[in-house]
Symmetry: C2
Subunit: 206 residues, 2 copies
DNA sequence: TAGATTGTTAATCGATTAACAATC
DNA sequence: TAGATTGTTAATCGATTAACAATC
């Protein structure tokens, strides 16, 4: 089942399909259709069928998709069948909220280490984890082979920390710092900046 | 200066241009070019010039763009010259972090009201604001004519609250709940869900 | 002037959708 | 069987980029 190249816009929709399938499962639905998914998600049914078709045939004509089966397939495609360990850097207000967030583990992402550069924060316990100094970063990331890091440090520190993460072999950065990071093309960055969202929505306000 | 229809993908890049211009300003740059912006942002220079061209001519041949001038133009285009008031609904860990975040006000978005449905949270002070009960929501939103709301409630409450916001005339929702909201097409929703980011990045991990 | 960079056009590239044969 | 829905093709639509005249 060799997958062809699939564009990033397609990949970014797959987690939305998965989330909707989980929602439908909770509603008690065992079967769904591209049309139902489309209506709920605000996409077209053709787009959903096309997106899935890059990876295989998961439905039955006349019937639709089995909710649990399609969930499993999406998890396999996204490589999230196994729980992945992550580190979080920056234990400010936001970092603490993230360290306490249950949704990561529920969706297979396990926070296993916290780091901060402020001496007064070292040793604090947040979300069941002890805040470690940045001097421990290299050791922990390498020993635990962490590929995913959540970056919640101030903007002016973010690029420098990102550079270190790249050197340590980190492959995916969930970036909460309000800055465009420069990283090699084999490292993924997903940016979360609420201000960007507010500013783009403001365009549409009268 | 009537603007033609400009697609959403273009609008969503404008805040990134603005953020980069602010960064260049801090570096002391007074002038920049589409090429410099492109390199720093990871876009093509043609794309940047094209995006800006939908709204006017802001550069000088041979020279480039005046950093401050282009900032002002982008703020005008995005309608963020005036500070906008916002409400925040849901004062959990994340809500508290958001209420304390200085970045909103720095970028012209002013949090003026907090709401929560939990009786034990009512009256608490967070980020200088007092948490109000949901029974006050309609009054406050209408009296203060709030168009922008940050939604940080649990997933199972989010759609219901969103429905109320739509009825109250809210035009833009910054949605932190991990759910696809259904709203009329004249209401903007910007979703912030870190799990979606992690799941899409996982696809690229070996 | 010579060099640099814009704004814009036209071509290219890529994503979305309509439509339908296949088939459950 | 009749009705429904998939998977896929081909057409359409839209976004990106290369190229360059204009001009600072």
């Amino acid at each position: 089942m060799a997958e062809p190249f699939v564009s990033e816009v397609v990949i970014e929709r797959l987690p939305l399909y998965l989330r909707m399938l989980q929602f439908l499962e909770k509603e008690g639905k065992q079967v769904t259709s591209s049309q139902e998914l489309a209506e709920r998600l605000g996409f077209s049914s053709a787009q959903i069928r096309k997106d899935l078709s890059y990876f295989g045939e998961f439905g039955k004509q006349g019937t639709g998709y089995n909710v649990m089966f399609l969930q499993r397939q999406l998890r396999r495609i996204l490589q999230i069948e196994q729980t992945r360990d992550m580190a979080l850097i920056g234990v400010g207000d936001l970092g603490r909220a993230l360290a306490n967030y249950q949704g990561f583990l529920e969706q297979g992402f396990h926070l296993v280490a916290l780091f901060d550069s402020a001496p007064q924060k070292i040793g604090m316990t947040v979300g069941g984890l002890t805040v470690q100094p940045m001097t421990e970063l290299a050791r922990v990331i390498q020993e635990r082979k962490l590929q995913v890091v959540i970056l919640a440090v101030p903007a002016q520190a973010a690029q420098q920390v990102a550079n270190r993460l790249v050197e340590l072999g980190v492959r995916a950065i969930l970036n909460y710092a309000p800055i465009t990071l420069s990283v090699p093309s084999d490292v993924r960055v997903y940016n979360i900046d609420p201000v960007i969202g507010l500013q783009s929505m403001a365009y549409y306000l009268k």
